[in-house]
């Protein structure tokens, strides 16, 4: 390698190749073939895809094929202490303990063989190489199995570090950026909770009955007149008296589309940076994103990658429960909306409907309860070996748990005719709203960013799926 280094220096200095270069031609040619020509990615930041000087320079250097020494231009790295501290504070607490033994990459069942993660990410993170890490799809190829965390001889917890970096990805590409920062920050929790609560209070005070909704059992008719209704089969608790169904639907539809928009902006920013980085590292984009989405979704619905985890094998099932619970609840909501507005079949539904919407919803809720409970138990079970998780994790876990528990309680308390049902229903709605509007900024965003990264990994040929 030493000889080669000399050659490289001479080459860069314009000395051309001489007898020394010839002498080591064979060796260097081999190296050149193995090492992709890398460009200067240093100046690369958001949306910057310009061709770099390095590439121009390397193209301009004319050398014969056998004598191609390593013409890689050294990348100018910009270590950023602030970024290192950010990772440490974001859950990668033990990042600096890594001494690069690569045990993590060896024990990882999900990493590609070539330049595997998380070893290289650990080193970049120790040096605070923000740009490299932000444009690195491997951060999301990691599924937090925590095999590396359990096996790391220095307790550097590589999985936690990648997770912290992933969280920073979410925050960095978020739109609006302020929400990205707020959701990730424990200090802003009260404010973040206040937003959906206030929106909901505003909607209820405008369109529903915030106080004593049961007494009046009044709802608005289509023209805005108040109508006193009969007590129906569902008992005296009528949620639509508290907040009319259209008000709920409009609020949540708006929230839903806000999330979609935020995801669209965030993921396209992310895709752009990934592409720019891949190109600057000498990679090529081979396929289309949409074309590769199918196989990725296939992997997601089967949880194939989760299944490769050793330490946290049971996460596959617990996550599947919650995953399908959400899918089921989405279907339930869709059917309800169709029923409400197209077929005019109003909720609440009975158990004997032709379309088993009640069944789908209940089973999904049960699955969600099992899933989230399991996830929490797992966290405690593995706490000693791989840690209990960071604020970011527990924020999502708490919100999902709240959504599911209050959802089930809201049903039970309604049937039982307990006035506290309204409060529980309010919490349920607020937590669902929280989940919706913050989905692009909370850990929930993993569903989009991980999907983007998996698709991108296929597009560049880095990871064509797991066997």
């Amino acid at each position: 390698m030493a000889d080669e280094t000399v050659d490289k220096t001479e080459e860069t200095a314009g000395a051309g190749n001489d007898a020394t270069a010839d002498a080591t031609a064979e060796e260097t040619a081999v190296t050149a073939a193995e090492t992709p020509v890398a460009g200067d990615a240093s100046e690369l930041s958001e949306g910057d895809t310009a061709a770099t000087e390095a590439q121009v320079a390397s193209e301009a250097t004319s050398v014969t094929a056998e004598n191609v020494p390593d013409v890689r231009e050294a990348m100018l790295i910009k270590p950023d202490v602030g970024f290192v501290k950010e990772i440490i504070n974001g859950g990668g607490t033990d990042l600096k303990k890594c001494y690069q033994c690569a045990t993590c990459s060896v024990v990882c069942n999900l990493t590609p063989d070539d330049s595997p993660f998380p070893r290289k990410e650990m080193m970049w993170a120790q040096w605070g190489l923000k740009d490299k890490l932000m444009g690195d799809p491997d951060v999301w190829l990691c599924h937090q199995c925590s095999d590396c965390v359990a096996q790391c001889p220095r307790g550097a917890k590589p999985g936690r570090v990648l997770q912290a970096i992933a969280k920073m990805t979410i925050s960095r590409f978020s739109w609006p950026g302020i929400l990205g920062k707020g959701v990730g920050s424990p200090a802003a929790l009260v404010l973040m909770v206040a937003i959906p609560v206030l929106i909901l209070l505003g909607v209820i005070s405008q369109f529903g009955h915030l106080t004593n909704p049961s007494k009046g059992n009044i709802i608005l008719d289509g023209s805005g007149h108040q109508i006193v209704q009969d007590v129906k089969t569902g008992g005296e608790i009528i949620y639509s008296n508290f907040i009319p169904i259209p008000a709920v639907d409009i609020t949540f539809t708006l929230a839903f589309f806000f999330a979609i928009l935020a995801f669209a902006v965030g993921s396209s920013r992310y895709w752009k940076l990934l592409s720019a980085h891949a190109v600057s590292e000498g990679g090529t984009l081979k396929g289309s994103g949409l074309g590769n989405l199918g196989p990725v979704l296939g992997e997601i619905i089967t949880h194939k990658r989760f299944g490769k985890c050793d330490e946290t094998e049971d996460r596959k099932v617990s996550h599947m429960f919650i995953f399908y619970a959400f899918l089921g609840l989405f279907v339930t909501t869709a059917i309800s909306v169709i029923g409400e507005y197209l077929l005019h079949k109003h909720s609440p539904y009975g158990w004997n409907n032709a379309v088993p919407v009640k069944w789908i919803g209940s089973v999904s809720a049960a699955a969600g309860l099992i899933g989230i409970g399991w996830i929490m138990i797992n966290r405690f079970k593995h706490a000693a070996k791989i840690g209990i998780g960071a604020y970011f994790d527990w924020l999502l876990i708490s919100v999902v748990a709240t959504v599911i528990v209050t959802g089930i309680l809201a049903w039970g308390l309604r049937v039982a005719n307990t006035p506290v049902a309204y409060t529980v229903y309010f919490i349920h709605l607020a937590s669902v709203l929280f989940l919706f509007i913050y989905a692009p900024f909370s850990k929930m965003a993993h569903m989009v960013y991980r999907t983007v990264a998996l698709v991108f990994a296929r597009v560049t040929g880095r990871d064509m799926g797991i066997e």
């Binding site: 390698m1 030493a2 280094t5 490289k8 220096t9 890398a38 390593d70 890689r72 050294a74 990348m75 100018l76 790295i77 910009k78 270590p79 202490v81 602030g82 290192v84 501290k85 440490i88 600096k96 303990k97 001494y99 690069q100 330049s115 290289k120 080193m123 970049w124 120790q126 040096w127 605070g128 190489l129 220095r154």
Partner: protein
């Protein structure tokens, strides 16, 4: 000593009684050597067994005890008879013979022959191979099978017994050489090692003279901003505390501190050195007992590191310069170019180290130093960072904890890497181009300044010395050619640097490599090649202040041990407690100077004519002078040319060509135990060897070779320690001296019309015992190929 009276004791346990015909052995002692007290004792090392010997000492007046049993390396406490009164000779028939040779075998013996053989055997001690054990002789006269000892094994034991008896006959208990000693330790150098040495010696009740060349005490340890951790958990840097030690030294009543001192000369011997020291314009001579040399280190000359930007770019500095900067500015590191605080400081490890062009060695301290200085950077500004580029991060021992702690600092960034180039941009920033990093690619880093982690050079070398890889051998000095009758002799005339010893071999300690004082690194780290002078701290190997302080304690104990043993007339090391010493019969001295030149420890001085002058307390008792002397006039009371020659003569050389006799001279420190281990492992060795134990192969005298070969011995195998750079010889130069001497034996052999290869030296470490059978067989094979020694039978 009273009239010599030998007693021979043969142990019959541990398989010896089964493998050997002990009665025949007894008969050799009785009949050939006319010894009255000869006994075969079962379980000789038991209390009862040892009592048999003690009774004979008390009742029969036995004073030379020959024990044919186990190795002297075991049961030394049982057979521990006062060496001032008694000679104890251990003939190792167990490990070296019985356990490594063929045992007795079952044989069909016709009845008549068996009964006839027995009386014949008792009649003559020179009987043919033993065929009958005493008990079987009384067996009924009928054809039977019985155990018969192996002929070769028996002969080997007989020869070794003969040699043991002769050795005892030729030995006298040594009379110690006792002189008055001065119990004062001279400590040269007042740094971490020297201060500790002075304080520890003083605390132990010895007077100390501490000579420091500078105007302040403390050395490098006093110049640091922070020092490395020196206590568990070895995680945090600490404020220097050398001042406490300085105060303790200055206030101790046993310590005299001489500042701005210069050692003009040190003459004499351990216990009786006269050190002439000038300081404050006056010169005084002090009587001292021993010396601790703790003169420390100097930084490698960074001017030679132009290829790393030093001297070319303003913002490239050395680790020593950064330390000075930190000490002067309370930890703040500023760019030399504009005095602004440095926010990005790069450190390049192994600068001019582990580099054949500069220092080929690792200074072992610089990785910790850079980590420490990186903490200066991050602690004076939390947003600043330090980039450390290393070949290998080496933080030995518990300094690993310090490494971990420093690494955990977000601003301390580490990567392995090889420097491709170091350049400067227009604003004075330093750009490092690094390849083979663990960042996965070739990178460039921009830094405000670059710190070169330069290495440590021993102060044994004078300022401005040549490249450490290209020094004159053993001493810094000039080559000088002298015409003698043997031809032109080239030797180095050593320059005085620090000690100014009045020794025949030169004014300083000899070094082995890179200027560090030569010592048997593993076994005797502090012992230099001058008895009484002990090296401590970075003068002998690069080390931290904490390690230097530990070294100071070790060297102080050695200096004290030296004075105490010298006061009793005993050798200091490695033959600690040995009271024998070489004596020269001057009447036959030809003033050839071989002894004064060859002594590995500079023990012998000489007058103008070349007559040697012994300095007994400098001597390590290896016998290299004895081997060097062509006149055979250097002898110990219990170790001499004549004694070993007589041992060789005692070997019976049979006329049959199928029974060659080969002498193996074995070094007592490695080859002897290697043979013991082979025996313990029951590895069979060639039965034709006869082992003669040497204090060191350096004692090999060429006269033995000529004598023994003319007496029909087939060849000589010298089994000694490894020599040259990675030597293992306890006496540093002994095995090498033997080898050089063998180069001259050719002449003798050609005069005798014998093959030069009949005398061969092999280098063997104790752990290479498993190679012994092959080495011995190969040599025997080679001798066989030469045909029998023509002198056999004359």
């Amino acid at each position: 000593m009273a009239d010599p009276k030998l007693g021979v004791y043969i142990c019959s346990d541990c398989g010896i009684g089964e493998a050997l015909d002990t009665e025949k052995l007894e008969n050799i002692a009785k009949n050939q050597y006319r010894i009255e007290v000869v006994k075969t004792v079962p379980f000789l090392c038991s209390q009862e067994g040892a009592q048999v010997i003690k009774d004979d000492i008390n009742n029969e007046g036995v004073n030379k005890i020959v024990i044919a049993a186990c190795s002297p390396r075991v049961n030394s406490d049982t057979f521990d008879f006062d060496p001032a009164q008694y000679i104890t000779e251990r003939v190792n028939v167990r490990e070296h013979i019985v356990w490594s040779q063929l045992p007795a075998a079952l044989e069909e013996v016709p009845a008549q022959e068996a009964s006839e053989a027995a009386p014949a055997e008792t009649a003559s001690d020179e009987a043919a191979p033993a065929e009958a054990a005493p008990e079987t002789a009384e067996a009924p006269a009928e054809a039977s099978s019985k155990m018969v000892v192996n002929e070769n094994t028996q002969e080997m034991a007989e020869d070794h017994l003969r040699m043991g008896i002769v050795r005892a006959q030729k030995s006298e208990p040594p009379e110690p050489f006792i002189e008055a000693v001065e119990r004062t330790v001279l400590v040269i150098g007042g740094g971490a090692a020297g201060l500790t040495s002075a304080l520890e010696s003083a605390k132990a009740g010895y007077k100390v003279i501490l000579a420091e060349k500078e105007a302040v005490l403390g050395g490098w340890a006093g110049k640091m901003y922070k020092i490395l951790p020196d206590k568990p958990p070895f995680e945090d840097v600490k404020t220097p505390d050398i001042d406490e030690k300085i105060a303790a030294v200055q206030s101790h009543e046993n310590i005299t501190v001489l500042m701005e001192a210069h050692i003009d000369s040190i003459a004499g011997t351990p216990g009786q050195y006269d050190a002439t020291i000038s300081h404050n314009g006056s010169t005084e001579t002090h009587r001292i007992g021993s010396v601790v040399m703790a003169i420390g280190w100097k930084p490698y000359d960074a001017d030679k590191l132009g290829h790393l930007g030093y001297g070319k770019f303003k913002n490239v500095v050395t680790n020593v310069e950064v330390e000075e900067m930190a000490a002067a500015n309370n930890g703040t590191i500023s760019k030399p170019s504009d005095g602004q605080q440095a926010k990005r400081v790069a450190f390049l490890q192994c600068a001019g180290q582990r580099d054949p062009e500069h220092l080929p060695y690792c200074s072992s301290v610089c990785c910790m130093t850079s980590l420490k200085q990186a903490l200066y950077v991050t602690e004076s500004d939390p947003d600043a960072s330090a980039y450390i580029v290393y070949k290998d991060m080496r933080t030995p021992g518990l300094y690993e904890n310090f490494y971990k702690a420093a690494q955990n600092n977000p601003g301390v960034m580490l990567t392995k890497g090889e420097i491709v180039s170091i350049t400067e941009d227009s604003s004075g920033n330093i750009i490092l181009e690094i390849d083979n990093t663990i960042l996965g690619e070739k990178v460039r880093i921009e830094a405000d300044m670059l710190v070169l982690a330069t290495g440590m050079v021993t102060n044994m070398l004078p300022e401005g010395a040549e490249k450490v890889t290209d020094l004159t051998p053993e001493y810094v000095g000039q080559w000088k050619e002298t015409k003698t009758q043997d031809g032109i002799i080239k030797e180095v005339i050593a320059d005085p640097v620090v000690l100014n010893l009045v020794y025949r071999q030169g004014p300083e300690l000899p070094y082995l490599k890179y200027g560090f004082p030569d010592s048997h690194f593993v076994c005797f780290p502090y012992e230099t090649r001058r008895t009484g002078i002990y090296a401590a701290g970075s003068v002998r190997a690069p080390m931290t202040a904490m390690q230097s302080a530990n070294d100071g304690v070790g060297a102080a104990l050695k200096a004290i041990q030296c004075v105490e043993l010298t006061s009793r007339g005993q050798a200091v090391h490695p033959r600690s407690g040995d009271e024998s010493f070489p004596e020269i019969n001057f009447t036959n001295c030809t003033q050839c100077r071989r002894c004064t030149v060859e002594c590995p420890f500079g023990a012998l001085d000489e007058d103008e004519k070349g007559t040697p002058k012994t300095n007994t307390s400098r001597c390590r008792r290896c016998g290299t002078c004895m081997g060097a002397c062509p006149q055979r006039i250097i002898s110990f009371k219990n170790y001499s040319v004549d004694m070993i020659a007589s041992q060789m003569k005692a070997i019976k050389v049979p006329e049959e060509d199928s029974k060659p006799r080969i002498i193996a001279l074995i070094c007592e420190n490695d080859a002897y135990p290697a043979l013991d281990i082979a025996g313990l492992n029951k590895i069979q060795t060639n039965p034709f060897y006869r082992f003669i134990t040497m204090r060191c192969l350096g004692g090999t005298n060429l006269v033995w070779i000529a004598d023994a070969l003319s007496a029909g011995i087939e060849g000589f195998l010298l089994i000694g320690c490894r020599y040259d750079d990675d030597y293992q010889c306890h006496f540093v130069k002994g095995s090498k001296a033997a080898n050089e001497r063998l180069g001259k034996v050719q002449e003798t052999l050609s005069r005798l019309m014998l093959e030069a290869e009949r005398v061969t030296q092999v280098q063997l470490a104790m752990n290479e015992w498993d190679q012994l059978p092959k080495i011995m067989d190969d040599f025997a094979e080679q001798l066989k190929s030469f045909g029998p020694n023509p002198f056999k039978g004359f």
